[in-house]
Amino acid sequence: MIAGLYVYWALFAVMLIGLYVVISHGNLVKKLLGLTVFQVGVFLFFISVGKVAGGSAPIIAEGAGPYSHPLPQVLILTAIVVGVATLAVGLALAVRIFESYGTVEEDELERVADEQPEPNGAFGAQCVPNAPFGSERGGGRS
């Protein structure tokens, strides 16, 4: 049984390392790195389910075969590109949070938010003028 499942267990380990980083670390950029690790574990697991022993890439040719399954590959192919697009959104949020609060650490963020009487107001004041496509650029860190 171990011989048959070792790949899956290794990939579960990769996922869990990513999950651990996402939960335990307070730094938002580090959290996103952890999310990437988690994501890669899921991608590899998906692909490995469609692998057949002694198979070849699902590009049909004379005398080739058996072929691995193309469907997981299609799903993961698009998921990788969607993954980097959502990573970019997460990073953009981290940049805006840093510009408004001067930190990307969760604990410090809570402290800064407690000190400011109206965190929403403070955030809005800096956020609204140059969002979404204002000419005034760069925001400014407080």
Binding site: S24, V29, K30, P70, T86, A92
Partner: protein, 330 residues
């Protein structure tokens, strides 16, 4: 078979070791570089698992684009992580143990790795994709056939997600600055290094040519719109990194990017509507050439892949330009 297992195990061990190193490292620049290594090992594993198309994408996205984006954000924020307090470890450990226990328990029901009689392969759709597709569509690369034709609607959804994410980044960090607004940073220029300047100058046309090859060869070999798009974008990102944002924006103007970002979904949806007007179902390419359904499929797949390629390349390049100009325009 023995070689396969050995290579596989070695790569998996490197993968896990890199993941642990990433999780323990507090210097985020170093962690990001390890992330690039992590992606490279992942891409090798994809090749080993017969997923050549996916390996392409992972290599271009993971090693190239996401690394550059992370580095760009670290330049804008702080590059050193605070020490993780002890109280944060316990809940994470409990969650990981619970999730790991559930996964390990469930894994007993998984078919053995590489088994040819697993549910994945005994499902009737496998025959459709691997054999019927040769008669329906007639292109050797079944990944492209499934991506662009059989599951075209799904792919349209993914493309819209990429498009939306691009819009979200634009509205969060603002559009790329105009070339005249960006101040070249006097203290540091990668283009001052002769080797980097000349090599990247020589590589540039080959990267773009390769991307075009990947785009238009996707029906016969590994390749397609998503892969070509990220390779295009990686080329422009390299150019922007070495020669500066103002020069890169002269190569790909903002207006062109703005048009290309929205062109992909428009062409894709337009093609679907066209097939409906011709009497078929949404994205049923058979009707594009009623007498030769195969030719219609070829045309449809080519158009779809081109639309995907342009939008993915434009979104990735725009995102890079936006982050980069956030850094130089203040």
């Amino acid at each position: 078979m023995m070689t396969f297992v050995l290579t596989n195990v070695t790569l998996l061990v490197i993968l896990i070791a890199t993941a642990i190193a990433i999780s323990r490292m507090r210097a985020l620049y170093e962690a990001t570089m390890l992330g690039a290594l992590f992606s490279l090992v992942t891409a090798s594993l994809f090749v080993l698992l017969d997923a050549v198309d996916v390996a392409f994408t992972e290599a271009a996205v993971g090693v190239g684009i996401s690394t550059v984006l992370l580095l760009g954000v670290l330049a804008l924020t702080r590059s050193r992580e605070a020490v993780t307090p002890r109280r944060r470890h316990l809940p994470a450990l409990i969650a990981v143990l619970l999730a790991g226990g559930a996964l390990g328990y469930a894994s007993q029901d998984l078919p053995a790795f590489g088994a040819a009689d697993s549910p994945v392969f005994s499902h009737p759709i496998t025959g459709t994709y691997l054999h019927q597709s040769q008669e329906d569509i007639g292109i050797p690369n079944t990944v492209t056939a499934v991506l662009a034709s059989y599951r075209g609607l799904d792919t349209l959804g993914e493309l819209v997600v990429v498009f939306t994410a691009g819009l979200a980044v634009l509205s969060l960090v603002g559009p790329p600055a105009r070339p005249e607004e960006t101040m070249p940073r006097a203290d540091f220029h990668l283009a001052d290094y002769r080797i980097i300047r000349i090599i990247s100058g020589i590589l540039m046309p080959f990267i773009l040519l390769f991307a075009l090859y990947v785009l238009f060869h996707g029906e016969y070999g590994p390749g397609g719109g998503f892969q070509a798009g990220v390779i295009f974008a990686a080329g422009f990102v390299l150019y922007g990194l070495v020669f500066g944002l103002d020069k890169a924006q002269r190569v790909v103007p903002r207006v062109a990017l703005r048009i290309l970002v929205s062109l992909g979904p428009l062409v894709f949806i337009g093609l679907g509507l066209a097939t409906m007007l011709l009497g078929g179902q949404f994205l049923d390419f058979d009707v594009l050439d009623p007498n030769h359904p195969e030719e219609g499929q070829h045309l449809g797949i080519l158009l779809v892949e081109t639309a995907i390629g342009f939008t993915v390349a434009a979104v990735m390049t725009t995102v890079f330009f936006s982050f980069a100009s956030r850094g130089v325009s203040r």
